[in-house]
Amino acid sequence: MSKDILIKKGLDIKLKGTAEKTSEKAILSNFYTLRPEDFHGVIPKLISKVGSKVKAGEPVFYDKSNEDVKFVSPVSGEIIEIERGEKRKILTIKIEADKTQSYVDYGAMDLSKADADTVKTRLLESGCWVFVKQRPYDVIANPNKAPKAIFISGYATAPLAADLDFTLKGKEKELQAAVTALGKLTEGQVHVSVGKSANSPLAELSGITVHRVSGPHPAGNVGTQINRIDPINKGEVVWTVSAQDLVIIGELLLTGKFNAERVVALVGSSIEKPRYFVTKIGSEVATMVYDKGISQDANARIISGNVLTGKQVKPDGNLDYYSNVITVIPEGDDYEFFGWNKPIFNKISTSRALTFSWLNPKKEYDLDTNTNGEHRAFVVTGSYEEVFPLDIYPMQVLKACMYKDLDEMEALGMYEVAPEDFALTEFICVSKQPHQKIIREGLDLMIKEIG
């Protein structure tokens, strides 16, 4: 069964530095880093100590509030450092990789026979559960609450996103195993969205409902698709899984090994030759960004993820647990003479206030990290709605989050949104308000107060 979804509102941000469709093996990273911060809301409880040896797929810590949810090491090696911050909060867990990798063997699973509980237990113990996220709240799914449906977006519309048709090619077997297994965990459907004109390996899988999506970003955001296909009501839960993580889940089910390998796009205008790499979760970005990338002293920002939702990482930082893109763009820490009133040709804008990006919608831009203005109170109205396809009033929700009115947040649709849904409104915001942060804090408040 296939249904078409056409998204009209939105904005495609076209940037320079799209990855060429060639992939190479990244230099093997010596050190791998786990950052509990990647898993929002998780309070980590360590299983291993500094000095202990772990295998790939062996749990390193678990979630204090849900002990079943385990977080595993992407490689085999020795934990050499655990960095702590204020109140002994664990910031990073650094693992030195072995020369030859050894894996925990969870055993292959016969999916035709396995029932929901077996699948769930396997995913939990092997660390694959981490890839299953839930809405409301955009956190790792609570395994004790059955979802009404599972959503997977196989259509990437974010700026400079990795092309999923390319990165998933040849992984049909793993993908099929993963969606079959996930299908057992819900009474509802497994909704998979693919690009309308794309030739996605996901489209041919069985046991799923395929939706063909077209339109500008955020058409590829799973939140946009949920809103169109089957919006979340109060009390309901849906799960979402990133398409690239299905491969890891699938491989685990088929072979019993947690293989943290992932195809990652290295993109951005600062990169000399943007292309794809095969690397592993947690590996050092330095293994990828310097070869035909940036120079050592470049004034550039390295982002694990895309420019809208990714995290800034230091040059000695690492790929985070969920990203399949590393974006490098120039820093914009310079002044611009009369930058606020002169005509602008080299930046994107949704208005035409002496900004001329509307003249040339196909042009690729080289944007830097300058905020292009200062933080202000909300003034302009009606502009967010143009890039926000959800049936929700964006500014009203943001304001409700700011004054922490739980009833209003609930009524206005907070159960349906994730911070990434507000990335575009944040991008175009004239008042330079931190929309994603406001929404994240709002969701956290709801978790705390409503649960």
Partner: protein, 399 residues
């Protein structure tokens, strides 16, 4: 050392001090700051509030310049020595009368904004850039400067700062200033003297016994309200060669400004269009009432009620209010549906007040202020529609 690095060093020096907001306001006026994104999106679109406000100011500049010419032009016509519209004589009178209004408006308003920013330790927000430009355009040309200063101080402090500054105010600050003037100094804000430079002065001279001809400073609305025929042609009204507040007379330039705002997506076309529709509907109703013979020629409402419905768009401050004041995003409705309702009611009520208030036949100001108060209510019901839809979905699920 370049200006850029000098200013950068000064900025570092002032950082954390009381004077930082004041310095930053001037610094960011010259240079787009070197601020980079932290958390959230790593890139941002080109527009900021300064650019938005600047766009509105650009749309207002033609009205201001026209207003200067017109001030002199009307003055010389009234004194019986007409000059060409585009003449230096006309412009000179306008310049020396209008420029001080602009200077006082910006000086007092921005002064207070800076003061509040320094005391409260927040950045100077750009809201007043537009207000400061609007105010001189919506007052009579002969308004004493001290009155303007008092009104601006009132408007900025009571109309805006007490609510928390830019973005938080309920009433349009420029109209708050005008309303203050209107109720505090009505003799300078209405009647048949104030709209042409020199008329009040001449009236005083005559009163003290000088043997001179009186200058009429009557607006079209004023004469219509008194049941007289307007002395101006439709073309004069459209192009703006008529007496009135400084910048409100030229419907053509306001229209161009409005189209510019719509094109740049800074002004809401929904509010502008629905306001015009509202005004036309009310005008048609009144025309219908006259046609039906319910109001006789003797009625004091007859003059304005019988005005052909679409002429209402050309006279008085309607066009200016609709394009530049009703569309203020902070005080207008914020939802798309709400904007239609809000704009329509502004147009509708403007003409209603205009016709039924012969003592002060200008309803746009009051209509916009009234709708400013109701805008949050309109939005509330529009948003409730969305909320109800969500509740219904939930109910359908449970049932």
């Amino acid at each position: 050392m370049s200006l850029k690095s000098k200013l950068h060093n000064l900025k570092e020096k002032y950082k954390g001090t009381k004077m930082a907001p004041a310095f930053n306001a001037l610094h960011t006026f010259l240079y787009l700051p070197n601020e980079t994104t932290h958390g959230g999106t790593h890139i941002k679109a080109a527009d900021d509030l300064k650019r938005t406000m600047n766009t509105v100011i650009m749309a207002l500049v033609p009205c201001l310049i026209f207003g200067m010419f017109n001030a002199g032009y009307q003055h010389y016509i009234a004194t019986g020595a007409p000059v060409d519209f585009l003449s230096w004589d006309a412009f000179y009178v306008g310049l020396i009368k209008v420029l001080p209004l602009v200077v006082v408006s910006y000086g007092v308003g921005l002064g207070i904004e800076f003061l509040f920013a320094v005391i409260k330790g927040h950045e100077v927000e750009e809201g007043y850039l537009v207000t400061g430009m609007l105010v001189p355009l919506i007052v009579p040309v002969d308004l004493p400067l001290w009155m303007l200063a008092v009104a601006v101080a009132f408007g900025v402090v009571i109309g805006k700062e007490v609510f928390g500054g830019t973005g938080m105010n309920i009433l349009n600050p420029a109209l708050t200033i005008r309303a203050f003037l209107f109720f505090a100094y009505p003799t300078w804000m209405s009647g048949d003297k104030v709209w042409v430079h020199g008329a009040v002065e001449r009236a005083n001279e005559i009163a003290s016994g000088a043997n001179l001809d009186a200058i009429s400073g009557e607006t079209i609305l004023g004469s219509l309200a008194q049941g007289q025929q307007s002395a101006y042609s439709i073309a004069d009204m459209f192009f703006g060669f008529i007496p009135g507040s400084v910048g409100e007379t030229s419907t053509l330039l306001i229209l161009l400004g409005g189209l510019f705002l719509i094109f740049t997506k800074i002004g809401s076309w929904r509010i502008m269009l629905s306001s015009v529709i509202g005004a036309l509907v009310m005008g048609l109703i009144f025309n219908g009432v006259v046609d039906a013979g319910w109001i006789g020629e003797g009625s004091k409402f007859y003059g304005l009620m019988s005005t052909t419905f679409w002429h209402h768009l050309l006279i008085g401050g309607f066009a200016f209010g609709t394009v530049f004041m009703a569309t203020d995003p902070v005080t207008a409705s914020q939802t798309t549906k709400g904007k239609w309702i809000y704009g329509f009611l502004i147009g509708f009520i403007s003409i209603l007040i205009r016709v039924f208030n012969p003592a002060y036949p200008e309803g746009v100001m009051l209509a916009i202020l009234l709708m400013n108060v109701f805008a949050p209510t309109i939005d509330h019901y529009v948003v409730q529609g969305n909320v109800k839809k969500r509740m219904k979905r939930l109910k359908a699920k449970i049932a």
